[in-house]
């Protein structure tokens, strides 16, 4: 097995991670100079500002500050929220499961439905079904995802009030166990649908063109000539071969997914990392913004690397020495 390829990917992921740390540090220390933020404190004397600077380690040279930053980050110390005065890591820890739930559900649904529709369109190439599906997926791809979310609210929470328009569970309800799960599930429907519609188009387009390619290959014709039913040729032979580009696509999508988490969570007041970022933008709460940005970046790098690993095990061609 050619593990050098995988080792190369691991090294790239690691270097990107380092670069993210350096960038994050300089971005917030140099561009968003914390000293100038301290100077905005009401009635702070120069003496007090100097004390605060010493407290935050801002009087040290930049290299020393960077070493502090790396050490703090490595020990999950991301500072204190300027608004709530709680540790940033606590706030992120509370928000993370909600984002995982929303993003996970949305991605999974988009993957399954998009792939399935792609197969349907490719096997009916040139028909009305194909044109309609292509038009629909391109339109959802061009639409802002938060706008899709607003339309879902207008349709299914206001015009036909069957789903809640926001939040993750009914406020004040003391539900436990299965009742709570169902309550959360009900709240999840609209945001997860918005996320699915946002990601669907890409999976559809890639799967469709990949299937179109595979269906014209010789082995499909040969299988067909042996008298195998068409449905079994598609399901048993064409689809597995056409799936590979989707692994690469899901890796590219992770970055877009994080952007979608920010806007969709904002629309639905879904208490995840995106909503946390949105609050931080409004309150100019830089430690929180820095923390969520770091988590988003690290998540994308790790997921990318995971996709590479998956690719490695699925495609024998990259394993060849």
């Amino acid at each position: 097995m050619n593990t050098r390829w995988l080792a190369g990917k691991a090294l790239t992921a690691f270097l990107t991670l380092i670069f993210v740390l350096v960038f994050n540090f300089f971005l917030f220390r140099v561009m968003g100079d914390p000293t100038s933020q301290l100077a905005r404190l009401p009635r702070a004397t120069p003496e007090e500002i100097r004390q605060l600077q010493a407290y935050y380690g801002l009087d040290k040279p930049l290299v020393g500050q960077f070493a502090d930053y790396v050490a703090d980050t490595a020990t999950a110390d991301l500072g204190i929220s300027q608004k709530t005065r709680r540790p940033v890591w606590t706030e992120i820890g509370e928000a993370l499961p909600w984002t995982l739930l929303l993003v996970g559900t949305g991605t999974l649904l988009a993957m399954v439905i998009g792939t399935w529709l792609g197969i349907v369109a490719a096997t009916r190439r040139g028909t009305r079904t194909d044109d309609g599906l292509l038009g629909f997926s391109l339109f959802t791809y061009a639409s802002p995802e938060y706008w899709i979310g607003i339309i879902l609210i207008l349709l299914f929470a206001v015009a036909i009030p069957i789903f809640p328009a926001g939040l993750q569970e009914t406020p004040g309800s003391q539900l436990t166990g299965l009742d709570r799960v169902l309550d959360i599930g009900e709240h999840l429907v609209l945001p997860a649908t918005a996320m699915t519609l946002m990601l669907l188009g890409q999976y559809f387009v890639i799967m469709r063109s990949s299937m179109v390619d595979v269906l014209t290959e010789d082995f499909v014709t040969v299988k067909r000539a042996t008298g195998l039913p068409w449905a079994r040729v598609v399901r048993g032979h064409a689809v597995p071969n056409a799936l590979l580009p989707l692994v690469t696509l899901s890796a590219i999508q992770f970055g877009i997914v994080m952007g979608g988490a920010v806007t969709i969570e904002t629309i639905f007041s879904w208490p995840g990392l995106g909503e946390l970022s949105y609050q931080a933008i409004n309150d100019k709460d830089f430690p929180v913004l820095q923390g969520t940005f770091l988590v988003f970046s690290v998540a994308v790098i790790l997921l990318n690397f995971l996709a590479d690993c998956l690719y490695f095990f699925l495609d024998p061609r990259v394993q060849a020495p």
Partner: protein, 275 residues
């Protein structure tokens, strides 16, 4: 270009694009009312006086829509041009020289491709305090990596061609070769890619405006959605306030994307055999 316009899809996308460009230029003149004027008709549905209803302070939604086209289009195109210039420069220089320059640029591109773009833009825009210039710069600076990749691949084949060889034999400098022989040949590909970036940039401007990071001085489609959302238009059922701006964004992005896609089919050699 002529081949693109010959198709029905090409005509459609070009028509939509031309219409929106017209609105971007003359929107303020054809707007029936002052888009900022308030009135007592608060959150009213469409009527003869207000064809698309009113906002939470009684402004005319249609007028805001017409005026808002300009910001979306200006930011979209300006950011795409910045992105094209950076992407082309890095792609050409990296591809042409190869070696360590190429590897350094490649890691930089890798990084920009991996980092989630919206969170990055949000962070930059927040730190710099939003304005039209900041929006354009932030979007342009974060969206060039894909162009860089594609241009580099093209340059790798171009630099082996006979005319580059000949120019080098005649003693032409690297700068001369890149400017006179490589750039013009990569230009169609750069242009096609830039059109696709325009679509991305329009969506990016709208998303930033929606998150409250737009230019506070001007009305854009993204800021309209933000205003409507903040004013509770969705739960009040005031669809006329929030649906039209999003529809305009979707239509414009759809047309621009389709146009870029058709153009790319014509100029990208790797896409030509495929159907």
């Amino acid at each position: 270009m002529r081949a693109v316009l010959a198709t029905r899809r090409g005509k459609f996308s070009f028509g939509v694009l031309a219409l929106f460009l017209f609105i971007a230029v003359f929107g303020a003149l054809i707007a029936p009312q002052d888009p900022r004027a308030s009135s007592t008709d608060v959150l009213e549905g469409p009527s003869a006086a207000h064809l698309l209803g009113t906002t939470e302070v009684g402004s005319d939604v249609l007028s805001q829509l017409l005026v808002g086209a300009r910001v979306s289009i200006v930011v979209g195109f300006a950011a795409a041009v910045i992105s094209a210039v950076i992407g082309a420069a890095i792609g050409i220089v990296g591809g042409y020289f190869g070696g360590w320059t190429d590897r350094a640029f490649d890691s930089l591109e890798n990084w920009f491709l991996v980092i989630p773009q919206l969170p990055l833009m949000v962070v930059l825009a927040r730190l710099l305090d939003p304005s039209l210039t900041v929006l354009i710069a932030v979007i342009g600076l974060t969206s060039w990596a894909g162009t860089g990749r594609i241009v580099r691949a093209q340059v790798l084949t171009l630099k082996e061609r006979a005319f580059v060889e000949r120019a080098r034999a005649l003693g032409a400098s690297d700068r001369h070769i890149m400017r006179v022989h490589i750039l013009p040949n990569a230009l169609p590909l750069i242009f096609a890619n830039t059109v696709l970036i325009v679509a991305v940039a329009i969506l990016a401007e709208a998303a930033l405006a929606f998150l409250g990071l737009g230019d506070p001085e001007s009305i854009s489609w993204g800021s309209m959605i933000e205003q409507g959302f903040e004013a509770g238009a969705p739960s009040a059922g005031a669809w006329w306030y929030v649906v039209p701006p999003g529809l305009c964004i979707a239509l414009l992005v759809f047309a621009v994307g389709l146009f870029g896609y058709l153009f790319e089919q014509q100029v990208n050699p790797r896409l030509q055999e495929r159907t």
